[in-house]
Symmetry: C2
Subunit: 243 residues, 2 copies
């Protein structure tokens, strides 16, 4: 009989950031599959498990491996950091499974960086917000630019994922230049690095300062809306406009 | 000595949806404070605790109570459903605390309905998305309308919180009419009701059908983008545009 595939978001990093449901699945499954970096994050917490890990850009192969393992009768925990859905493996896994008529899949949510990083900064995502990835690996840059413009025009708090990559280090600067056409220079912004991991760091700054701030791929960026303030060294978006 | 205030997102409802960190705080704290409905959700899981609960629209009083309890030396877990930040109590708590110079606050994130409801539907938030609340208690309706328009123009997946309230039952219909000016009638949409609780239900439908669908305040609504499809009865947003 086929096993189950659980696509599990493990949260920011340490075991304490995962849900009780995620932990139970990882305890009970037969094999844990994932991108090498994420597997390394939790390997020590599950010492007796079988693991299958491979590298970046091997996502589709990983999905196919999960189906192979499940067809052998194994219960598979297919892990990723943050949430399983948000820029995660739930979408390609469901696509691949549908292609071959495999149905035993359950998606287990997790805490994505907009929430875990938000908690480190205070409450930047206290009201309506957008999530935008600056990675142009699968999305044309023009689409990303257009989303930044509409998000700024809509006065959304904007959470930026993948603000830099090995290939293009100036993505965040370009994004800030687009936002600065619409938003004031003193818009309250924040960055968090290594959320929930060793070396966690945070900083609150203006949009103008953010533009010239070097960031890496372990950083999540928060751009406030018109109601976002630095309150006592916390980045806080007020819950509404009628206070 | 003052106690700590932990603002804790407990996830969608059942204990298994909270993080290990949230559970540990609830186990160790001296008192759990929250809106009555949320306290009732977890009361049975923490039978030996002291609780303080009150009703809707009593948010600021609840924040002040937390500070009072902490000033008495108690460690306080101030709970809310979903995430502590997203339309949650982290923002007003940090504001109230700053007013009286109280600094012992830590924000603990949780799984918000965009993620937990998304997991029930499949992977609707697999790529860039916006979160918009239709509650006009603290936000002018014109602001909400403008955000819906910009989100649709930006081709964002849109997750709608508070699609209905006692006072105004036609919010979702009005929102869909705005979206239908920009998005095709057959845009893939989904709704989830009672996420992670007794009586959980989901349904995938077109935007045209969503317009005439009665919903209540326990429902979260997902409006797909141009890359969202119904794949094998799952709502799935493809990860990019270059596949």
């Amino acid at each position: 009989m086929d096993g189950m595939i659980y696509v599990v978001g493990i949260g920011p990093g340490k075991k304490e950031g995962m849900t009780l449901e995620a932990e139970e699945i990882l305890e009970k499954c037969d094999i844990i599959v994932g991108y090498k970096t994420y597997v390394d994050l939790i390997k020590d917490s599950f010492p007796d498990k079988e693991f299958y890990a491979n590298g970046m850009t091997m996502e589709i192969e990983r999905c196919k491996k999960c189906i192979d393992f499940a067809r052998e009768g194994k219960n598979v925990a297919f892990i990723g950091s943050g949430d399983s859905g948000v820029y995660g493996m739930a979408s390609p896994m469901l696509e691949e499974a549908a292609k071959v008529g495999f149905n035993n899949i359950k998606i287990i949510p997790g805490v994505t960086a907009a929430l875990s990083g938000g908690a480190v900064l205070g409450a930047p995502v206290g009201h309506d917000f957008c999530l935008i990835s600056l990675s142009d690996r699968l999305t044309p840059w023009e689409k990303i630019e257009s989303r930044l413009k509409f998000a700024a025009q809509g006065d959304f708090v904007i959470v930026i994922y993948n603000p830099a990559s090995h290939g293009r280090k100036d993505h965040l600067k370009k994004a800030c230049d687009i936002l600065l056409e619409i938003l004031p220079e003193n818009t309250c912004c924040g960055i968090v690095r290594n959320i929930g991991r060793e070396g966690e760091e945070k900083e609150i700054m203006s949009l103008k300062e953010l533009r010239d701030r070097p960031v890496d791929m372990f950083t999540t960026v928060f751009v406030g809306n018109s109601q976002t303030k630095n309150i006592n060294d916390h980045m806080v978006t007020l819950r509404g406009y009628k206070q």
